[in-house]
């Protein structure tokens, strides 16, 4: 009898939980001005040229996911009020698959990262995004509701999901894994920021799509580094101190692909036999993303950054190899 009583009690308590939910229409209206629509590269079937994002500062900083959509010089950001801006990439962290954009305006409503909250399994959530590019211009983003079904590391099924991000994610019962939803905002039922809707992810073994969001707390250090310019290539600054004898690609034993574009992606073409690069395991086709924590987006930037590292210092590279991110330390002399 006691157990029945307890069960009944929890059952009713569950109903209380459902019915005490805030008025979502008010919450939604409060969140919408912080949401943006991001348009960039893509446009082919299966490679949509759009995603979602949201404002995180009154300086026009926008958090979104790092993806091929941003792989263009022309990123357009549409605000909730329909105004369009050119988006500039402030920086990105491919390890976390996030990017920060900036638009040239200020004073906009935004989420305060410091005020973001954690959510636990069972918590009711709202998911804001421009999935399927349903909204254009000043039309509001779509909002889905659901609960956090689980909170778990994404690498639990190694090899199943093709993603470089292996950290903690919230698994959702709202169907957020749709084209264009990535970069959207996960909020509590009160509209507090809790997570970033992740990129489309399909289990390669069973074909199911994963609905998930990355907790904001996992991203804050990286976002702060990006906004503070700590991932920005040092060679972009004019007054940087240059060593007399820096590393070069040749001394390390790395040959890059021919530098023929304005921004040739920094792919390794070949590795010299018995060089430091070979010894530490650099392979042809590795894509160099970071050098000593500075973001590298072209062969030219890679060379410029190397010129700033003294031969006696170590060179730490983060490379993308297939779907894996690998950190490699090349010893200084």
């Amino acid at each position: 009898m006691h157990r029945l009583f307890l069960a009944l009690f929890f059952f009713l308590a569950g109903i209380i939980n459902l019915t005490q939910a805030a008025d979502f229409s008010v919450i939604s209206a409060g969140v919408q001005p912080k949401m943006v629509k991001v348009y960039g590269a893509g446009g082919l079937r299966g490679l949509e040229g759009y995603q979602s994002g949201f404002l995180i500062s009154d300086q026009g900083h926008i958090l979104t996911v790092w993806s091929y959509v941003l792989d263009t010089d022309y990123i357009t950001v549409t605000l909730d009020d329909g105004r369009k801006f050119e988006g500039e990439i402030v920086g990105a962290d491919p390890r976390l698959e996030v990017a920060v954009l900036k638009i040239d305006t200020d004073g906009l409503e935004h989420f305060k990262l410091g005020a973001s909250v954690g959510v636990k399994p069972g918590a009711r959530i709202l998911a804001f995004s421009n999935l399927f590019k349903i909204a254009t211009g000043d039309e509001p983003s779509s909002v889905l509701h659901g609960i956090v079904a689980a909170t778990t590391p994404l690498n639990a099924r190694r090899g199943a999901f093709k993603t470089t991000y292996k950290g903690t994610v919230h698994i959702l019962d709202a169907i957020t894994n749709n084209p264009g939803a990535a970069g959207g905002a996960l909020t509590t039922r009160n509209g507090e920021l809790a997570g970033l809707l992740g990129k489309e992810l399909r289990n390669s073994q069973n074909g199911t799509w994963l609905n998930y969001a990355v907790p904001i707390s996992e991203l804050i250090p990286a976002i702060e580094d990006i906004i503070a310019g700590r991932t920005r290539p040092r060679s972009f600054d004019e007054d940087v101190i240059r060593p007399d004898e820096p590393h070069t690609l040749k001394t390390l034993g790395i040959r890059m692909v021919p530098d023929v574009l304005a921004k040739t992606p920094p792919f390794v073409d070949s590795v010299a036999a018995s060089s430091e690069a070979e010894k530490q395991g650099i392979r042809p086709d590795d894509l160099i993303l970071y050098i000593n924590d500075r973001r590298v987006d072209s062969c030219a930037t890679l060379r410029s950054e190397l010129e700033l590292i003294d031969q006696i210092d170590n060179v730490i590279l983060v490379v993308q190899r297939g779907d894996e991110l690998v950190e490699i330390v090349l010893q200084g002399e």
Partner: protein, 581 residues
Amino acid sequence: MTNPSKIITLVILLSCLPLPALKAQDLTVPDDVLASQAQRIAAIKKASASTVMVFANEGKGGGSGVLISPDGYALSNYHVVQPAGTAMKCAINDGKLYDAILVSIDPVGDVALIKLLGRDDFPFAKLEDSDKVRVGDWCFAVGNPFLLATDFNPTVTYGIVSGVHRYQYPAGTLLEYADCIQTDASINPGNSGGPLFNERGDLIGINGRGSFEKRGRVNVGVGYAISINQIKHFMGFLRSGRILDHATLGATVSTDENGNVVVTNIAESSDAYRRGLRYGDQLLSFGGRNISTVNGFKNVLGIYPRGWRVPISFLHEGDRFDTFVRLTGVHSPEELLARVQPNRQQPEGKPMPEGQPAPPAPKEPALQLPDVVKPFFTARRGFANYHFNKLNQDRIWDTYVNQTKPESIKGDWTLRGQLGNLGNASIVLSKTRVDAELPQGKAFAVLDNDLGQQEAPRGSGGLLVALHLWKHIQQTGIGRFGDVYYLGSMPTPKQDEKQDVLVATHSVIECRFYFSPSTGLLTSMEMYPDLGVDPCEIYFSEYESINGRMLPRHLEIIHGDTVYGELLLKDFEFNSNGGTE
């Protein structure tokens, strides 16, 4: 003393719910929680009763629908009833299966009206004002997903409104979803045609579509419902038994670099052009809504039937214009017919543009209709089910004739009064001529000549011919006037209440007669001397009972953007002996 299986059931239930940290002493449930729960239960119960499960004959699929009147009219999707054909079986959760007949289809809007037979006390849904629906509102869909409801109990899926005023491009060539409601309540195959309710269980939309792309054809969190307000605009049309078309302005728009919506193309034959809209003009509002995006414009266009007159405001060379514009059809009637019935052998005959005579079709031989539905179906080219058109023609005409008794006045009519403050006017309507003495001078029309060429008096757009046709249809009745059909209902610039419209064609002159559904009286008529020109409009008002007949004392005549005049009638003289006959 306790049933172990009950405990297990409850524990299983428990595992589905969040576990709040409550103490045992908090056990009493607040009254508002119980009230809220009771409200939800009541809403679902009420809503489920009006939900229809559609099963096509011979297992040709099915879907959902919703009853909207006690005599069995129910809404569904065009794409649900299309494979079913003219007759289908419909179940509701009283556990019974009813025969149903197709009434009308709106292939572009993906709406169909059907009628369940056998009762005049069906439970039905209340139509809500869907413009009041807000993003974040709770809502629920009831229906027949995956045709699961073979036990005649529909499936309920709960969600929130994810977006409103959504525009979804046509899938294929038809099926445009404009101004629709987006929801994350699960909408799956079989939910199509079924109702989306607000949390009180009142009808806000008809589910019918989702976004899927590479996700297969099951719900992925994005379903769309046709807004019930759009369907309200079409409701009179849906009762007409016709194949309905949507509207176009005759102009295309796009957003310029300043974010304004401007005209990029306009057909010179369109009413919009005649109302002064030109290339480069900025659209300010349309259908009562401010227009800031192209989608917003398409949303407004998508919710009106062909033929409606909709308010429009635009900037032309810096000046603001506020007027009404007539919307023309998206498709030619023949094109529409070919698209919706591509495999059906069309009865022979000329194309039937709206307003042109439609040759009666030979009865389709393919009528293996159940006996019970046969009396509710009449085949006719261009109609989904002519039976319902005739029903409405008779309803409107009988109500009118009951009050005006015009058929007893077979002879000449003489109207005397004043034309505004210009002076006296008298008009004699005989069988062969119309002669008018007006303050501006004499005018006449000869009725055995081409009526379309006679626009007397000058500037009226053909007032004398219009008055003749007004008299003629009253003397002959709708049966002998020419081709007559019921168009549907729509407001006019002078009546917010939707007026019932009969389209009547006599000697290739098309007239539209507008009747008030509340009084049954003729409130206005339009006479089109030719397609592509402004009609002569007459607004009838100040009806008075004269010798047992309701007659209008006040006629306002409008042509294009100009008021020709107001005719105040003091005296009606009827030669009831038919003297000139």
